[in-house]
């Protein structure tokens, strides 16, 4: 059968970086194909070339066996290719309908086009289970629905090849299931779907075949039923990965951090509402939730970046209240360490060297504070060399600028720094976001070792697998509240997923 879409020797460089170094793949029509690969493997670049967002340096794109050139998305759309980007391409203050017609208005005046689109939208909604309200403003919609608008945009333009880039990153497990049902319905109508993901479990569940990319090339193609997560992970990394986290049962000690009735409001909007929990020595408590439900604010308050508007935090014999807040540096002296969610913004300065990054936030502490109150550069260099050795940060160049390390190595350096001061409490926000698989396993092992050494760890992550794999207890947040608690060993994805969407009604049975 002629492939619906075929790439031959696709190349694309950005400056000195070869994002695509000869990509070959052929996707049969009416299938769901997955593309997996580590960050920077070139998945998104290849698909952006197909969609005409970037122009290829070399290589061919064939659609239904015919060579095509996509110099702009307009040509891709003409060849009935649609793409749902990871960061949605929606105008937030427009309605659903306006977003759908943008670029496909059917005439110089809007009225007729909008009316036609309304009818067509209704038909597509019914046919594929893509419910949206046409007159709702995008900014008022939850992300799951925004994503449906993106898919509808593609279908409205008649897409027969639909590319989705990391579509599940922002969805709850239930929304993910719903998306996959939609994709299956599309496939049944003959649409070819290409799914970029780094979540191997979802690739296994949703696709017919999988392409594995590494270093800008497709290194393997597998039929999904004939492969395993382990094999795909190995192909992605190029070596064996320790997949399972080995864990021994936690033996929690005394309370290390207590939070009572914690709240935060901004302009009358409650961001955190009566949050309370206790974190014990030697346990990992995971916070699950769709991002934006207060997890970020919780971390920022606990780390001293934000001031709470109500409630109490007890740590190291100190009571922190809105009237007696503690700033980030005081929190550190109380034995707290923080791996921020937004690494680039809060954990490092790109133009600082690795050596400086390795001691950021501790510059007033011995041994970094040398005589005369000046920073002791030799001590910093020794310390950084030490961290790099222990956490396998590559390359081991202490003078290299932080921005020039890969995401995984930046994160290893940050975590190494935070762990090095032997914290009593560690706040870990998205510790493996943007980190490649090999480094993920390493970071997980380090967190487990820290826990076994008696540190209390609060883990916030959007990756449910990570939360379930590491946590001794799991708290679920929704709308700034803790809406559920599950013991780590009893956790199942469905329950947590329902709690994340705040529709969990408790076990009826």
């Amino acid at each position: 059968m002629t492939p619906a879409i075929e790439l031959r020797g696709l190349e694309k460089s950005f400056g000195a970086v070869r994002a695509n170094a000869g990509v070959d793949m052929a996707v049969p029509p009416g299938t769901i194909a997955g593309i997996v690969g580590e960050n920077g493997a070139g998945k998104t670049t290849a698909m952006n070339v197909v969609y005409g967002m970037y122009r290829a340096d070399a290589g061919e794109i064939l659609i239904d066996g015919k060579a095509v050139r996509h110099d702009s998305p307009a040509e891709a759309i003409k060849h009935r290719v649609g793409m749902v980007h990871q960061h949605f391409m929606l105008v937030e203050n427009f309605t659903v309908l306006e977003n759908v017609v943008l670029g496909a208005e059917k005439g110089a005046l809007l009225e007729a086009g909008l009316a036609a689109a309304r009818t067509e939208l209704q038909r597509l909604s019914d046919e594929y289970g893509l419910q949206v309200s046409p007159d709702a403003r995008i900014s008022d919609l939850p992300v799951g629905e925004q994503q449906r608008v993106e898919i509808l945009k593609c279908l409205y333009r008649g897409a027969r090849i639909l590319i989705l880039d990391e579509p599940t990153a922002v969805l709850t497990p239930q929304e993910t299931d719903r998306l996959f049902r939609i994709l299956k319905a599309l496939k049944a109508q003959g649409t070819t779907v290409i799914l970029i993901s780094h979540k191997l479990k979802e690739i296994m569940a949703a696709t017919d075949l999988v392409f594995v990319m590494r270093a800008g090339k497709v290194v393997a193609m597998r039929e999904t039923p004939n492969t395993t997560r382990e094999e795909l992970a190995e192909l992605m990394v190029g070596r064996k990965v320790h997949w399972q986290i080995e864990r021994v049962k936690a033996s929690p000690g005394a309370a290390a951090l207590t939070v009572e009735h914690l709240s935060l409001a901004a302009g009358g909007v409650p961001l955190l509402d009566d949050v309370g929990f206790t974190l014990h020595e030697g346990e990992i408590v995971g916070i699950a939730g769709v991002s934006g439900n207060g997890q970020g604010e919780l971390l920022e308050i606990l780390s001293g970046i934000l001031k709470p508007t109500g409630g109490l935090i007890r740590i190291g014999g100190r009571e922190i209240t809105p009237r007696h807040p503690a700033d980030a540096s005081e929190m550190r002296t109380l034995g707290l360490a923080h791996v921020p969610e937004d690494r680039l913004k809060y954990a490092m300065a790109g133009q600082f060297t690795a050596a400086e990054t390795g001691m950021l936030g501790r510059q007033r502490v011995l041994p970094f504070k040398g005589p005369n109150g000046l920073i002791d550069r030799a001590a910093i260099a020794r310390h950084c060399g030490d961290l790099m050795e222990r956490f396998d940060v590559r390359p081991r160049r202490i003078e290299q600028l932080a921005a020039h390390f890969s995401g995984g190595n930046q994160q290893k350096l940050v975590i190494a720094r935070e762990i090095a001061c032997a914290p009593k409490v560690l706040l870990a926000g998205q510790p493996t976001r943007g980190v490649d698989i090999g480094a993920i396993a390493f970071i997980h092992r380090q967190l487990m070792a820290l826990r076994d050494g008696g540190c209390a760890i609060l883990l916030v992550s959007c990756e449910l697998d990570e939360i379930m794999g590491l946590s001794d207890r799991i708290l679920v947040m929704y709308g700034g509240k803790i809406v559920g608690e599950v013991a780590g060993e009893e956790a199942d994805e469905r329950t947590i997923g329902l709690m994340m969407a705040n529709v969990w009604k408790g076990d009826a049975a």
Binding site: Y51, Y54, S72, P73, A76, V91, F94, A104, G113, K153
Partner: protein, 323 residues
Amino acid sequence: MEDAIFQIVALLAGTLRIATPLILCAMGGVFSENAGVVDIGLEGKMLAAAFASATVASATGSPWLGLTAGILVACAMSLVHGAACITYRGNQIVSGVAINILASGLTMVFAVAWFHMGGQTPGLDNAARFLPISLPGSESLAGVPLIGPVYANLISGQTLPVYLTIALVFLTAWTLSKTRFGLRLRAVGEEPKAVDAAGISVAGLRYRAVLICGGFTGIAGTYLAIAQNANFSREMSAGQGYIALAALIFGKWKAWGAFWACILFGFLDAVAIRLQGVHIGAFAVPTQAIQAMPYLLTVLLLAGFIGKATAPKNDGVPYEKGE
């Protein structure tokens, strides 16, 4: 009573005449800024257009050729701004300020070099100007109370650019809300990557927007030089481009909002003129205090009385492809 009506009508007619260049510049700004290109250079373009139209009108004796010249010069300056901001992704404020300085300097240099009149252009004959137009029926209605004076002195008796301006406000509002071009324009100021992904040229839309802005400021400058006055004089735009910018923000980047803001500023100016030499008791009201009103009002209103003025999300942000 008769006199009061006459006074009010005269005040409103003055308001309209003063507000006309503001409205034109603000409508230009509505196009440019909704497309994502901040235009602090309204002032400079208007000034350059005033000079060009006065020069051409005095040379040819035709107000129409003057208008054409004004529009062409302002559009050319818009293209310079567009090249700097859209193609070369420069800083839009810096480019706008450069346009203003350029216009201020060049008009003087050319005026002195060509006319040797201390920076003025020669006075224009009536034939070379846009004169007030008397609409039919203003005399027959003159006797009717209220309607008579309003029709004769406010609705009738304005110059052509004033009528054109009102029509352009309707056209601007309609274009932005009802047409394909308007939808795309608003989208490109709000989320250019969405426009790019929809297969529409971001640069193409933005260039069209700045060109329209150029055309509008061109008419504004022409109005100043050959309708409101009878020649070009040094710095005759006198900061009205900035006031228009304030009105644009005050009007929340919407055509009608900006229109009413311009009318308000025009009204305050008209009142200031009327209040010259007025005493409250023994206290002579300083004209400067009244003249400062539009500026003070803008600051005060923006500081909290009209709520948050939210610009188009990517107003002033050059578009770069890729993440």
